[in-house]
Assembly symmetry: C2
Homo-oligomer: 453 residues x 2
């Protein structure tokens, strides 16, 4: 019986031990349970869990087939999970779509996610304007950390992409141009939107007049001149200074690419009217967000009026997203984003320029290393685009030459340049770049063949 | 000993019972644990849990003070939790901010929340355009359910608010106006943006020419005419037909308010160019989203070009939000939203018009009940605005009269009307409307006093 008692005691004490153990598990401090936000979070995670073979992506607002989200495949990939490569498919490097930054955001999913409530910011306005002051703070902080712009004594205007602000600037700077319209010019080769926008609006106040160079020797032009200065330039990625100066010249500095991924930052830009875009910083081209820093209060007021009458400011959804993204990258002063961005483009440029330098038929610009105040060292070139030239006499239409070889670039003529030039984007996804390199490889390898015959 | 054994057995069996109970709790099927999305969801719920006394709201992108989100108070409320009413504060019913719909979204928090991943839709484009096809589907479905527009054989363009599309239409319809610019006109009183936009862009192709009525007897105008037809009209909320017709007349139908909250829907609108906005449907004015339905393919192509060159389409964040909101309201065919919207505005109008009808000093338009094909019954008027008139000879500046009484409306002159008129918005928050009624009450009660002296 004593033996039985001892067994009982052992059983009971084990059972009590497990009681305590289970109870402590049940009573462990738990995170508060999510309520109304849970379904949205669950849905987003379910979509994100589709890998699409790494050659595509499923989106919350994507196609749904038979109750299941459908993969949106990268160019040249197809099939339900994007695993089928289409061998004849051309390398499309036309657009400046900054998808090379997508992997950064995949890695920072937690710090960059936002949950938007249905009743978030329904009003036309924030407190007293159409601009989020928190976002404004983040932008000022970003410029301070990167050291690419002097923001002191500047007003800030937000735009639906820098695209909206480019013409807002033309509109503001030419508002009292009279009797003859202000001449809108830029140094060639140039980003074509300056021309197409000015022509689209066909204003009495401004007229597209082409290359700045034509105006260089006009010491005192009778009309006002608005010069766009794109630095680094699109398409040739060189740092640029204004060509024109004088009392009748207003300058708009488009600094879309003045960030450490694409160029060494020699010093903070310090101009009267500077335009930036999130597209080329975080890669969120689809969010349509840009800003301008403006010294002259009257120009600022006019640009605010323009954006207000054009679209009643910038979407609050966009402003919320931009705020979260800029906060996310600034957790380490932008270090990881800019290093990743720089490294990616630098490697792409090295590969491409090395392969092209082995060719006599093609060339790309020689770009020099330069001291970057952000990285605090000399950095090699990392241009957003390869401004490729067809050197052979017979290759007058370089775009067609490349197209025949399965490469879709953007023709030099689009930038006001000779048709011997083509812009190749280095900003797209790794799949796009890899395919570009394959095609460049074949093209350059062929070269010795026919030539040696 | 037997007694002891019995006790032991009881203890042991109870203990085992609890073990099984606890274990079954521990092993109960649990929802999959959220990972990267959890923090965003938690943050949104924490912000939403701030009540701000019902007279304000805390937002994800709002001010943070000492690590805590700050309440953004409704007009006339202040203090850390917005509980302090400022007695002297005027009733501000100037803007058409559709905040009356906020309570609907508070009630539908779960079905309207979205979790946006950091890498969501970074590209400039969706599959093959800048337009989300899923959103397009939702819009077509909404028109079909509400029966307010015939979408058959129409092309669709998205805009950064209908604001962007208004001028996109002018631009598209006047592109080949020559030699003289197209005349942009509308019937007075009118929504002032048609005038201010046309003047802002100051195009060679179009010129603001004021009231349609002036052109009525010009049987064949030598220039092209673009007539804006706002139906229901802003500010007087009447259903409108074009004033002008003929081969040189193009008509742009602004149907911002052609939804069951604001008007009976007698029949689907069936015009060549119709413009809509989400602002007045779901109340998300801050999201900046509108669309146009267009019959003529060339006009459609031109409007697409306009929006592309103006802002490279509409923010993908906005499109995602619009998709979710339209999906949420369509769960019951829009029934709850439209009924809530209609009921709210109807009650406000009844209160206001009843009080004003007791006055000889002020009047509002008489609006007739009408059969609504959506509600399938005759509905009483529910106008977005009260188009108030000061009837007394001496009250020439009605805006000033109201302002002196603590009511900020929008002056008739802004709409091209006599200064005896003022537009009062019925769309703002309940706090704003309640305050407006208080002030109207005092104003009307005072009336008999001085008059009887």
């Amino acid at each position: 019986m004593a033996k039985l008692g001892w067994k009982y005691a052992l059983c009971l004490s084990s059972s009590i031990f497990f009681n305590i153990l289970f109870l402590s598990f049940l009573l462990r401090p738990q995170e508060p349970r999510l309520t109304w936000s849970r379904e949205a979070a669950r849905e987003a995670e379910a979509i994100a869990s589709l890998s699409c073979s790494g050659h595509g992506r499923a989106y919350l607002d994507g196609l749904v087939s038979q109750g299941k989200p459908v993969c949106l495949c990268h160019t040249c990939y197809e099939g339900p999970d994007c695993s089928d490569f289409s061998p004849g498919c051309p390398a499309d490097v036309d657009s400046g779509d900054p998808l090379f930054l997508e992997p950064y955001w995949m890695r920072h999913a937690a710090s960059s996610a936002i949950l938007v409530a249905g009743y978030h910011r329904m009003s036309y306005r924030y407190n007293d304007s159409t601009i989020s002051t928190e976002l404004q703070k983040q932008i000022l902080q970003l410029h301070a950390v990167v050291g690419n712009a002097n923001t002191t004594g500047r007003f800030m205007v937000f735009g639906t992409g820098s695209t909206q602000l480019l013409y807002a600037a033309v509109n503001a700077l030419s508002r009292d141009a009279s009797p003859s319209p202000a001449s809108v010019v830029t140094a060639f080769p140039f980003y074509s939107v300056y021309e197409t926008q000015t022509n689209l609006f066909n204003s009495l106040n401004s007229k597209w007049q082409g290359d700045s160079a034509q105006w260089k020797n006009v010491s005192n032009p009778s009309t006002n001149v608005i010069e766009f200065v794109t630095s680094p330039n699109n398409p040739d990625c060189k740092l640029r200074e204004p060509v024109l100066s004088g009392p009748n010249v207003k300058t708009v500095h488009d600094h879309a690419y003045y960030w450490p991924h694409y160029t060494a930052i020699p010093a903070p830009a310090n101009e009267d009217l500077m335009i930036f875009t999130i597209s080329k910083i975080t890669g969120h081209a689809g969010s349509r967000f840009g800003w301008a820093l403006i010294k002259d209060e009257r120009v600022y007021e006019r640009m605010i009026t323009y954006v207000t009458l054009n679209s009643i400011g910038v979407s609050h959804d966009t402003q919320l997203r931009a705020l979260k993204l800029l906060k996310a990258i600034q957790k380490d002063g932008g270090k990881e984003l800019f290093e990743f961005g720089y490294k990616t483009i630098r490697e792409r440029w090295e590969k491409l320029s090395k392969r092209v330098s082995a060719s006599k038929r093609f060339s790309v610009p020689k770009l020099a290393p330069r001291y970057c105040t952000y990285f605090q060292k000399i950095t090699g070139p990392s241009p957003a685009y390869a401004w490729l030239k067809c050197e052979n006499e017979e290759d007058k239409d370089c775009y067609a030459v490349l197209k025949a070889a399965g490469i879709i670039g953007r023709a030099g003529a689009v930038f006001g340049a000779d048709s011997r030039y083509v812009r190749l984007s280095l900003l797209k996804s790794q799949d796009d770049f890899d395919l570009l390199m394959q095609r460049i490889e074949s093209l350059v390898s062929e070269e010795d063949g026919p030539r040696s015959i």
